[in-house]
């Protein structure tokens, strides 16, 4: 007496992304903390010293958040207009920020009032940064100039007027106090050397440059502008290395993961993409609710901070090891665990006789109904809301099994308006899925056969039948087009292949005859 063989659910290959080390790593973040700011968050900068506070520039304020607090530990509000680009000095003591009113302000992190005001620019300053010797400030402005300032006496040292459009981004070298890079809306990225008072290398990005980033080794430069992210080799004099086009809107911000192995880019298309820096393939992707303007990554990837146009700041903290340990500890403390494990860890001795217990078979509900030949009920079960939407392959497998048993017609017949419309909905939703088409076409034909006498009695069903008709029409059109393309491709392939003569017995015989 064999046991009942359950319905075979076809396993389809999993489409979409595979689980890789990267997905696991980048998925290991907690649910984001969302903080509402006063305006669009334009800049996020992490303090280089512990506890790695970060400065968030939004509208006329700069807030400084601690690594765990959701309230700002400090805020600078003495701006007359929109503030831009709040950046920490490498010792974390000073903070510089530009402003729409063209004045650059320097703050002590612990103070409130600006220590110095740098006046000289004529338009909004979008770029501010400290040089690596900590005594100078780099600024870039919408008046097409970038300037170097001396901190102690607040005087302008040099002005560079090589750009021909707004300067919106830039970065200073961490290794050389004289080198800095600016990106401009004139599509160029320029490397300046303060010692020669002019640009050393000019790279053409092709789009207005929104963000630049230097690798820790400072041999490679990454620039973002338009939909492109480009990597340049500075040691080869600014030779383009890679051009990435993975976003479908302007890329606004760049960041490097702390070990320099992954590059992150944020864009107005609401995605943050993670690239592998060895082969520049996208390895992970984050989705956000609104267009992203700024992106910050804490040292050791402890948190990802994203600022968006809807003035929301989203902070994702990394799940730490202790949390997961804690969960495991809780499980071990559960009393039921010991109950379940009881006797399971018994190691059999040599002379022990194993008394096997019959394994109880668990059948799915539709299988139990199929076993009792309750075909209509089995189909109803398979059309239940959860299965229908989440696991359509089960519904299709049951329909297929009913068809194999020759009872599909009985199962489909005798349904009321609601049941029928549910069934038709399912068919309309899945008919064009190539995996399910052969089965569902049979079912659809049967439904039409069974219910053709009642067509016109229910407006709901009629509408669905019309939808089904449209769907089939459209699908046929698609198939036609595809076949045409296939035919074209075939002719192209055929003409491109070299013609090769195949030796054939006939030829040999002919040759023999000649001899």
């Amino acid at each position: 007496m064999a046991s009942f063989k359950p319905t075979k659910i076809q396993v389809y290959p999993k489409l979409g992304e595979k689980v890789t080390q990267d997905t696991l790593y980048w998925k290991n973040y907690k649910a984001p903390v969302q903080i509402k700011e006063f305006g669009a968050v334009t800049s996020i900068d992490f303090s280089p010293v512990t506890p790695h506070n970060f400065a968030v520039t939004a509208f006329t304020r700069i807030h400084i958040y601690g690594p765990f607090s959701q309230e700002p530990v400090k805020s600078f509000t003495r701006f007359k207009d929109t503030a831009y680009c709040g950046r920490f000095r490498s010792d974390g003591q000073l903070l510089v920020a530009g402003c729409e009113d063209s004045v650059v302000r320097l703050f002590d992190v612990s103070g409130k009032v600006a220590l110095r005001l740098f006046k000289g620019h004529t338009k909004a300053v979008h770029l501010t940064d400290f040089t690596s010797d900590r005594y100078q400030i780099l600024t870039g402005s919408d008046d097409y100039t970038c300037r170097l300032w001396d901190i102690p006496n607040a005087t302008e040292l040099t002005t560079y007027t090589e750009h021909t459009d707004y300067i919106r981004c830039g970065v200073t070298s961490k290794l050389n106090r004289d080198l800095f890079i600016t990106g401009s809306y004139d599509h160029t990225v320029k490397l300046f050397d303060a010692r020669v008072e002019k640009s050393v290398i000019t790279m053409d990005h092709g789009q207005p440059v929104e963000s630049v980033l230097l690798y820790p080794s400072e041999g490679l430069l990454v620039s973002a502008g338009g939909r492109h992210v480009k990597v340049w080799d500075l040691l080869k004099g600014g030779q383009p290395l890679v051009s990435l086009k993975n976003h479908h809107k302007t890329v606004t911000s760049l960041a490097l993961s702390s070990n320099g192995q992954r590059l992150l880019s944020a864009s107005l298309d609401r995605h943050v993409k993670v690239y592998n820096t060895t082969n520049y393939k996208v390895v992970h992707n984050f989705d956000y609710a609104a267009s992203i303007l700024s992106l910050g990554l804490a040292p050791d990837d402890a948190s990802i901070v994203v600022g968006m146009t809807n003035s929301i700041l989203s902070i994702k903290h990394r799940k730490n090891q202790e949390d997961s340990k804690e969960i495991a500890g809780q499980q071990r403390r559960r009393p039921s665990y010991r109950v379940f494990v009881k006797g399971k860890n018994y190691v059999p001795k040599q002379d022990d006789y194993l008394v096997s217990k019959p394994v109880k078979e668990h059948l799915a509900k539709y299988d139990k109904q199929l076993q009792r030949f309750n075909v209509s009920k089995a189909l109803d079960t398979a059309l239940g809301t959860y299965i229908r939407f989440r696991k359509p392959e089960i519904t299709v497998a049951v329909i297929k099994e009913l068809d194999r048993r020759g009872t599909l017609k009985n199962a489909l017949a005798g349904r009321d308006e609601r049941g029928l419309s549910q069934l038709l909905n399912f068919i309309i939703g899945n008919l064009v899925d190539a995996r399910f088409t052969p089965v569902l076409v049979t079912a659809a034909e049967m439904i039409l056969d069974i219910y053709q006498s009642v067509i016109g009695q229910s407006p709901v069903v009629d509408r669905q039948l019309l939808r089904l008709q449209d769907l089939v029409k459209r699908e046929i059109e698609f198939q036609k087009d595809l076949l045409e393309v296939l035919g074209m491709l075939d002719t192209m392939f055929a003409s491109s292949l070299p013609r090769k003569e195949v030796p054939c017995s006939g030829h040999f015989e002919k040759e023999r005859c000649k001899f």
């Binding site: 007496m1 075979k8 076809q10 194999r404 195949v502 030796p503 054939c504 017995s505 006939g506 015989e509």
Partner: protein, 825 residues
């Protein structure tokens, strides 16, 4: 042409065991069933065939326990004889010649020495009562025949005895006829052809209640009717039970009449409570459709026969305790005959959706491999998945199967499955399922042959005009290795019919109707094309070993042989080859040619012009399936004509689905000798008595072997041991008192001398006095009979007194063998 001297075509195993209902013996230890021209005796506990009762020359049509002796069994056959057997020892006791082919037969307790047979008299079948003549002869002829009923159904299920033989019920078409033996009167009841709901009322089987006046009949529409009050023409009643959805094929009451068992196409054994018919028990999914149901005389075992040549033994409707499975022969073998390289078993279609592995050496079904893995729905007219193609790779570690289901309305459903051999479970485990591997039916499939190669390659050809190569892909990081399509190709839109790899795997030949294309599997390059119009090539074979440069093909009218080195036709002969098979162990090839209604066999080497062996008219009809099976041990025949059978054996299937093979004379002799030596006695339980008697018997045999002269002296021993055996085997509670028994026993031991004693009675009377005198001497001589016997050799010595001499004479005449026997044991 070489003559086929001593090579013979023989049937090979796998006869039907579900032809007639089996019989379970009174002690429930044996099961007897008709199987071809023999009756097979199976053990109900071990499922082994203990022995075959051979002797009939026609198909055996029934087996029945003798009502008066439960250790004997009758069997009937189409050869017109009834035979009586002792089934425990497998001895033919009596043969009764009837003279008519017997289709079925019945017996009952009430009618001693009468057997009722169904024989085909002119025009119609008749139930005839046969009085068995009482004579001691081995061969008797039955003269007393009297017809009981005429126009009966030859199906054995259509007639049954009621109430221990008071009446007999017979069904035929739409009529139930009950014949009362006492009144010599028969009643007939008719049903309408079909009822209102469109069911068919035709009777299919009948069973009678053993105690009650009740007849159960089964019908084609799945109904069971219980007839009562049928000894009145008008006032009869019947009630209807309906569970089966199609024909009820068998009905049976349990011996006490408490339950009624029924079975049919659904393969569900239904147990109805008698008089409480709403209560039913079911035993579902027993296998193929149930054809017969029988119950053991004590009611503890049920036994069902199934259409897939299977007998299931069930312990009181709860548990299947044993399954006796024969070779399953469906209507057609869609897969070719194949050999499993590992188990050397023959592999072919079995139960629906299964492949069966059949051991040819042991004539036993090893196991069924479930290919389709779907619940089988027992319903006629339903399109099921069928296994249509299967292929093994050379080492037997991979099996590829193709299953298909073809419906009129829907499109073809096709699955290609790859099975890996699992060392641990010693069976095949599903590795990859490829649904819809091709757009149309797969015409052929083969694995790449070489054993040393790392990659395994499978090529499938399909009616959609393509052939595809499948390769084992590297294991993914989560799962093991799986199969992927490696290459797809077509040739001018022609349909590929068959494919074959060369022995070393370096060439692949695919036939596209009239054109043979040769490919290189390593580069997938078309190397050459061969063709010899007219006629499409239907079968293809590469030569092996020294003939590996040849490629053979068959067309409807020709056998073609190409030389692959010159790419030209080497030779051709005109014959209609239906099947071409290559021996995997030698260069030999076998071609089955169809010629004017029968099939001829030619065995040849591609390189030699003369065939090695030819056999005209191997069988009638076409042979489309054949296979070479490697032998377990090589034969050492030196005759030229039978040398091709040395390393492997050729099996083929005839059009009638009979499995045949070729044997040589020497092989048959050897088999016969070995079968005599073989004694299967594992059915006897190991009880202390068995140990005692078994040892005894063993010792007897040893004595027999070692010292035959000694044996001759003790001729009385078997008698003694037989009486002992009887004493030991009879249950203690039926034995008389021990004192009575003891004297009987002793007398039985002394019985051989009683005659001598009476002869010498006078003498003894005369010498009574002297006897008293010499009592002392007698005592001494009795206590040492051996010594006395030894002394008796010198009886002529004058030193003995008269009395002593007489005593000696007496002692000499006494039989002491019983003592010897006791000492031995």
């Amino acid at each position: 042409m070489v003559e086929h001297g001593d090579i013979r075509v023989v049937h090979c195993g796998g006869s039907k065991i579900n032809f007639r209902d089996p019989v379970i013996t009174h002690d429930s230890r044996f099961l007897l069933c008709a199987s071809g021209e023999a009756v097979k005796v199976f053990s109900t506990s071990t499922e082994e065939c203990i022995h075959e009762l051979r002797g009939h020359t026609g198909l055996v049509t029934g087996v029945l326990l003798r009502p008066s002796n439960h250790l004997q069994v009758y069997s009937s056959s189409l050869d017109g004889t009834l035979r009586l057997w002792d089934f425990t020892d497998g001895i033919l006791i009596k043969t009764c010649v009837i003279g008519y082919p017997i289709y079925s037969f019945y017996a009952s307790d009430k009618h001693e020495n009468v057997i009722f047979i169904v024989a085909s008299m002119p025009k119609r079948f008749q139930l005839v009562a046969v009085h068995l003549p009482q004579s001691g002869d081995q061969m008797v002829e039955a003269q007393e025949l009297s017809a009981v009923l005429s126009g009966v159904n030859p199906n054995p299920a259509a007639i049954a005895f009621g109430r221990g033989g008071e009446f007999i019920a017979s069904v035929n078409d739409l009529q139930l006829e009950v014949y009362f033996f006492k009144k010599q009167k028969s009643y007939r009841f008719f049903l309408k052809e079909d009822n209102k709901k469109g069911g068919w009322n035709t009777f299919t089987c009948v069973a009678c209640h053993p105690k009650d006046d009740c007849i159960a009949t089964g019908h084609e529409d799945g109904k069971i009717r219980l007839w009562r009050n049928f000894n009145h023409k008008k006032e009869y009643t019947y009630s209807t039970l309906h569970w089966h959805h199609s024909t009820v094929s068998s009905l049976c009451f349990t011996p006490e009449g408490t339950n009624l068992l029924s079975g049919g196409v659904e393969s569900v054994l239904v147990q109805w409570r008698y008089n409480q018919e709403s209560e039913r028990d079911f035993l579902p999914r027993l296998g193929g459709a149930i054809t017969h149901i029988t119950v053991s005389p004590d009611g503890s075992l049920f036994c069902t026969s199934h259409s897939d040549n299977k007998i299931t033994i069930i312990q009181s409707c709860v548990k299947v305790s044993a399954v006796i499975q024969g070779l399953v022969k469906g209507d057609s073998i869609r897969t070719d005959l194949m050999m499993d390289p590992r188990s050397k078993a023959l592999v072919l279609n079995g139960k629906p959706g299964h492949l069966q592995f059949y051991s040819l050496q042991r004539d036993k079904l090893l196991y069924n491999l479930d290919i389709v893995q779907q619940e089988y729905i027992h319903e006629s007219g339903l399109q099921q998945f069928e296994v249509v193609k299967a292929a093994f790779d050379a080492s037997g570690s991979w099996l590829a199967t193709v299953e298909e289901r073809h419906q009129k309305a829907a499109e073809l459903e096709l699955n290609l499955k790859l099975w890996a051999f699992d060392e641990q479970t010693q069976s095949f485990v599903l590795n990859t399922t490829i649904s819809a591997p091709h757009d149309a039916q797969i015409t052929a499939m083969c694995f790449c042959q070489p054993t040393d190669s790392q990659t395994t390659l499978l090529v499938s050809t399909s009616k959609d005009g393509h052939f595809k190569a499948w390769q084992l892909a590297a294991p993914a990081h989560t799962e093991g290795p799986s199969w992927l399509c490696d290459f797809v190709s077509a040739y001018h839109g022609l349909v590929p019919e068959c494919c074959s790899f060369s022995a070393d795997g370096s060439l692949l030949a695919v036939v596209f109707q009239e054109v043979v294309t040769v490919w290189s599997p390593s580069t997938w390059e078309l190397l050459t094309t061969l063709s010899q119009p007219p006629g499409a090539v239907s079968d293809l074979c590469f030569g092996r070993l020294s003939c590996s440069k040849y490629l053979l093909g068959t067309t409807a009218s020709n056998l073609l042989c190409w030389n692959l080195l010159t790419c030209s036709l080497e030779w051709t002969t005109s014959m209609d080859v239906r099947r071409l098979v290559a021996d995997p162990l030698s260069e030999n090839m076998a071609a089955f040619c169809y010629q004017s209604g029968s099939t001829d066999l030619f065995v040849f080497k591609p390189s030699e012009p003369r065939p090695l062996f030819s056999h005209k008219a191997v069988c009638s009809g076409k042979v489309t399936q054949a296979v070479f099976a490697p032998r377990e041990e090589m034969l050492e025949s030196c005759e030229e004509s039978s040398q091709w059978l040395n390393r492997s054996q050729l099996y083929f299937l005839t059009q009638q689905m009979d499995l045949m093979t070729f044997t040589t004379k020497a092989e048959e002799d050897r088999l016969l000798a070995s079968s005599k030596q073989l004694v299967i006695d594992d059915s006897v339980a190991m009880t202390p008595f068995y140990l005692l008697l078994g040892k005894h018997r063993q010792q007897q045999q040893e004595h027999q072997d070692s010292d035959s002269s000694l044996w001759a002296e003790r001729t009385a021993l078997p008698q003694t041991s037989a009486s002992m055996k009887e004493l030991l085997q009879t249950p203690a509670h039926v034995l008389p008192s021990t004192s009575y028994l003891c004297s009987m026993f002793v007398q039985s031991l002394l019985i051989s001398v009683s005659d001598a004693r009476s002869a010498h009675a006078e003498e003894e009377m005369e010498s009574e006095k002297e006897e008293e005198d010499s009592e002392e001497e007698m005592e001494s001589s009795r206590s040492k009979p051996e010594l006395a016997a030894a002394a008796a050799t010198e009886s002529d010595t004058p030193a003995l007194t008269k009395a002593q001499a007489r005593e000696l004479r007496r002692v000499r005449k006494l039989d002491h063998s019983w003592l010897a026997g006791l000492l031995d044991s």
